[in-house]
């Protein structure tokens, strides 16, 4: 009778060790970047342009570039993603078309990020002649985060109880009025969560912007959406592999700013989700 319990103890120990093998390195990565990156952060680093061939100065243009790109991506992806989610949750029937749409979303989510880069290059930069510009980069990033926004919004819309819709329809409201005034307001926290996660993803990706917008080095800020821009993830790639003898402090500092930006967005999304769950009335 004793042996099965001993096997169980050993098995659970191994499961625990496997979990540690993931969690401990994650903790270490975050701690090392904070430990070595935080001392590099000061007002000058955040507000100055890169100097001396990116070996001194700050990362201001890269921060601004990333903010522009992320804003552009969300302006493009949120309306399309939200309407697409409304279609799937409120209008679609369980037929072949719906199945195709869902399969396309799964596929969009799985396309390698560098292939998005190629697509952006072929469609926006070359075919539409936008050139390497904030516009091309934002649109490419926007299509990349579309599946995240659609999936999250659809889940949020579908979690609104069916009875809410029935009551509204029985009071004589039209289908669109019901969606606009009853379903959407109740789904906003979930939609917000998905949007912020999409923002975080867009801010951190490098491969899609490599050939569509990213500039190696630009001393001035972009003036219009047809200009090239620097971006934080690409800047980190450049100073860690393309430019020799960059002070380690600057590399860690850049990694710290990028990581903080992305994790902050994720944290906000988690908090919204948590608050909403507690408040939920149904």
């Amino acid at each position: 009778m004793k042996r099965p319990h001993r096997t169980q103890k050993i098995a659970f120990l191994f499961l625990f060790l496997a979990t540690l093998l993931i969690i401990v390195p994650v903790g270490l990565i975050v701690v090392v970047i904070i430990w070595k990156g935080l001392p590099a952060i000061n007002w000058q680093f955040l507000s100055d342009i890169p100097r001396q061939g990116m070996r001194a100065g700050g990362i201001f243009p890269a921060i601004i570039g990333t903010i522009y790109l992320v804003t552009g991506a969300i302006v493009f992806a949120l309306p399309i993603g939200l309407l697409s989610a409304i279609y799937l949750s409120e209008y679609s029937n369980d037929n072949l078309l719906t199945r195709l749409i869902k399969l396309s979303i799964v596929n969009l989510a799985g396309v390698p990020s560098v292939v998005y880069g190629l697509f952006g290059l072929a469609l926006f930069v070359v075919f539409f002649k936008f050139g390497a510009s904030i516009l091309s980069g934002s649109l490419t990033l926007g299509i990349m985060i579309l599946p995240i926004i659609i999936t999250a919004s659809r889940e949020a819309l579908e979690s609104v109880p069916y009875s809410f819709r029935e009551v509204s329809l029985s009071l004589g409201a039209s289908k669109w009025q019901t969606i606009r005034h009853i379903v959407l307001p109740n789904a906003i926290p979930g939609i917000l969560t998905g949007t912020i996660l999409g923002l975080g993803r867009a801010a951190g990706e490098t491969a899609p912007i490599l050939f569509t917008v990213a500039a190696f080095y630009l001393p001035q800020l972009p003036k219009s959406i047809f200009d090239q821009a620097m971006a934080l993830p690409y800047h980190l790639y450049v100073i860690s592999t393309q430019v020799p003898n960059v002070d380690e402090k600057i590399r860690y500092g850049t990694a710290f700013v990028l990581l903080t930006l992305v994790l902050f967005m994720n944290l906000v999304a988690i908090i919204i989700r948590y608050k909403f769950r507690k408040k939920k009335k149904w």
Binding site: P4, T7, Q8, A11, F12, L15, F16, A18, T19, I22, I23, P25, V26, I29, V30, V32, L83, S84, Y87, Y91, I101, S104, I105, V106, N107, L108, G110, V111, P112, S113, V114, V115, Y116, G117, L118, F119, A122, F127, I143, L146, I150, S174, K175, W176, G204, T206, A207, L210, P233, Y234, L236, S240, T241, A255, L258, L259, V262, L263, N266, I270
Partner: protein, 288 residues
């Protein structure tokens, strides 16, 4: 008037619903448009099985076999590391961990998923690469092994979260039945839960591998980027993704090199399409 407005809105909603299909088709069409031009220079068979990749020599040699093997080697290594650890972690989180620990572990996994790949690549460069170099006394630490280890970490969040979902969706009655027959918790997990969740776990593994094959930045920063056929896991390799990312900046639009990189993109797109469709089938099999 209101009816007209609603008609317009509903048509707009339908159009946006179709947007995903449109984008997948557009991506494939534009890859084909630029990529198929490579067939003027090299036959499809020569492209896939050619042993040398010298895109800027004259005439260019466009064989992507070294790149395919590089991707395969890095992916196989990452799969060997991430599948057992990832599935074990999923079982621990779903079945063994106490409720409070569970929340912390899940937050940790989400944290890992959120770290940008360029940051992981940077960390790999400054920590893992020197470590591998000293451990195996190599001339360089930029090897397939370094890439595999780093990529294993990027695959784990996908594997853990989907496998965990699969374990959760096993009906409670299965577990209660096993307990009632006197099985221990571990016997229940091993003999009942894991087999019942197997198609979901398989989907988790496939999506994890899909993530690894498509990963670009970290792999470009730490695998050394030598486009030769690898003979060991301790030599530099170059993957399909890294080739596109590293060379597209220098390729002249409309050159053979440019077309060849798009053709590499087609190969990647087809691989990821196949993986995602199959994984989706496995996930649906579980639901029905």
């Amino acid at each position: 008037m209101r009816k007209f407005k609603e008609f317009i809105i509903e048509k707009l909603i339908l159009f946006c619903g179709l947007a995903s299909i449109l984008f997948v088709v557009l991506i494939f069409l534009f890859l084909l448009k630029e990529g198929l031009a490579v067939l003027k220079t090299v036959s499809p068979f020569g492209f896939l099985s050619g042993k040398s990749w010298y895109p800027i020599s004259d005439p260019p040699q466009l064989g992507i076999l070294p790149l395919i093997l590089g991707s395969l080697m890095v992916t196989a290594g990452a799969a060997l590391i991430s599948i057992p650890i990832g599935v074990a972690c999923a079982v621990y989180i779903a079945e063994v961990a106490p409720a409070k620990t569970k929340e912390i572990l899940k937050a940790g996994i989400e944290l890992l998923a959120a770290i940008p790949s360029v940051v992981l690549g940077f960390i790999g460069m400054v920590t893992l690469v020197p470590l591998i170099k000293n451990l195996f006394h190599l001339p360089t630490g930029l090897t397939a092994l370094s890439g595999s280890i780093m990529l294993a970490f990027m695959a784990m969040p996908t594997i853990v979260s989907i496998a965990e979902d699969a374990l959760y969706s096993v009906p409670k009655s299965y577990k209660e039945g096993a307990f009632a027959l006197g099985a221990t918790h571990w016997e229940t997990i091993w003999r009942v839960m894991l087999p019942a969740a197997s198609s979901g776990i398989l989907a988790a593994v496939m999506l994890g591998i899909g993530r690894v094959i498509g990963e670009t930045m970290a792999v470009m920063m730490i695998t050394g980027n030598a486009a030769v056929i690898p003979n060991s896991i301790l030599v530099p390799v170059r993957t399909l993704t890294a080739t596109i990312a590293a060379e597209m900046g220098e390729a002249v639009v409309g050159s053979e090199h440019f077309f060849a990189l798009f053709a590499v993109g087609i190969v990647l797109f087809i691989i990821s399409f196949f993986i995602n469709v199959t994984a989706d089938l496995f996930l649906h099999k579980r639901q029905s």
